[in-house]
Assembly symmetry: C2
Homo-oligomer: 316 residues x 2
């Protein structure tokens, strides 16, 4: 019977996602003990001070030792090396579940699976939740509420382990769906990776204009640009690894995006208002679906009107 | 002495911007009377019911008659025709200020200026504020608080009229800056027009994938995509007119955006992690400036975590 509970959860990485898992798991009492490791001693100490982890370690192997759930909450690019290190130290407990929270899945499977010993259940995962902030202090218990978590269990994976991890994520607040790693990577390329790439890109385009100053871009950003800058403020290391590890799907989606953009550009150049109107109207429909599915609020302007902005800096 | 007050303000168009101007002007008592017109009788009635306007008219000329401030709050593409209609009816009051709120300025000047009689002061304007919603019911008094409003007074324009309109916008909550129509159009192309075009575009790209369903796009949109759909939900007529009327600047900025995107695409294809990391880190800097300038909050995830999303629809 799956209850989603564990004796000892080891978080390898205690940034935004790792620390939010800890807060959410404590909220509903899913673990007797939560331990963690981080790449710097400063981060370990911060996570301890904030009560994110009960015990902190410098190495993943020490943290993972004896844990019945090991969660890799580190950038995608180093998950393989972490699994290898834990395995080399013989630190995986027999029967433990090993999972991750990475934004790409096929590459994680390729990197991690070779280092998973027999008797350890590797069930890759990805909670579709986040903010643009990073570090242990940015985590909060509600991050996963009403968000989706995708699991990509390999063929032949122990159903009890999958079920136990599924219930764990559900108790953290998520809806859970399983699919293949390859399909996950395709879906996320369009719902997350390409949007982030475009956001990073337009922010840099704006920064390198000769006839428009950075001050002007900043002051007049409320016209739409600021929404792009928020997601472009996300962690550069994490995103570098995402693009290096989901190359094929991202390049496919980017190709389609560019084709479609060229068609819009052409409509603008030739003053084709009917095409523009039709394409803009179509885009509204999908938005409606997202609000209805509870993945966003229909509060105008993301509810910014209630936050009360401070006075802008008028120095130039 | 400019006090920003008017006897009779005529709002030609009472959608998001027009109705917000009315609410904000009433908040600080800037007008003895606010009247308006709209293209449909339904909209006029709604604006009356909501208390947006004191009196409603079917035609712009009737609304403008006797007003000392006439504000064109209609899509950019029809502002010229509206000015012509008011002028043909001899409805402009001598000494009145005529302004607009359009997102492009050079084309508005070309379209409207020929229909402005001597003795009427035409001072084009653009408040950089908005939400993705439209209609008289979407307006609210705080829309302009701490936002910038750009005025583009033509050479030789009466300084007293410019000053009076400047004080009016300041009392609505804005910071006001003047610049040339051409420079406005260039700045807004990058801070608003191209971001909107990109958002419309990626939403449509996502909608036309064969291997990813719309339901998947909707469910997993929290990864970044939903931020694009919000701005892509903006009024299609308004945006069609923006792109038809700011063609040159938009095409220039779009060309630069595509060049930069090609460089990122190439870095992904060849696995150039250093370039990706550097470009992503650069993008963070500009974001910091926007938060410091008060044009956005640094609350994570736009403060969505406090709004409490409803349960997603799990039907497929």
């Amino acid at each position: 019977m799956s209850d989603g509970r564990f004796e000892k959860i080891a978080l390898i990485g205690v940034g935004l996602i790792g620390s939010s898992i800890a807060h959410a798991a404590r909220r509903v009492g899913l673990a007797d003990r939560i331990v963690g490791s981080a790449r710097t001693e400063t981060t370990v100490q911060k996570a301890l001070q904030l009560g994110v982890i009960d015990e902190g370690f410098a190495s993943p192997a020490e943290a993972a030792n004896g844990a019945d759930l090991v969660m890799l909450c580190a950038p995608v690019g180093i998950c393989g090396a972490i699994a290898a290190e834990i395995n080399a130290a013989n630190a995986f407990r027999d029967g433990a579940i090993l999972t991750d929270v990475g934004s790409v899945k096929a590459a994680i499977v390729d990197d991690v699976a070779p280092h998973v010993p027999a008797g350890v259940h590797f069930v890759p995962g990805h909670p579709i939740a986040g903010t643009e902030q990073s570090g242990p202090e940015s985590g909060f218990a509600e991050l996963f509420d009403n968000r989706w978590c995708i699991l990509t269990p390999p063929t032949g994976c122990d159903p009890a382990a999958v079920s136990q991890l599924k219930v764990f994520w559900e108790k953290l607040g998520c809806f859970v769906q399983t699919m293949s790693p390859e399909h996950h990577d395709l879906v996320l390329a369009i719902t997350s990776h390409v949007p982030h790439l475009i956001a990073f890109n337009i922010v840099n385009t704006a920064a390198h204009l000769e006839r428009v100053t950075d001050q002007e871009v900043i002051k007049f950003s409320a016209g739409g640009f600021r929404d792009f800058t928020r997601i472009a403020a996300s962690d550069p290391t994490m995103w570098r690894d995402v693009f290096l590890n989901n190359k094929e799907a991202v390049l496919e989606m980017l190709g389609r995006f560019s084709e479609d953009l060229t068609a819009l550009q052409r409509a603008i150049r030739f003053g084709d208002g009917d095409t523009l109107y039709r394409l803009f109207s179509d885009a509204r429909m999908l938005r409606r679906g997202i609000v209805e599915a509870g993945q966003d609020t229909d509060a105008p302007d993301f509810g910014r009107r209630v936050t009360g902005a401070s006075e802008p800096n008028t120095d130039e």
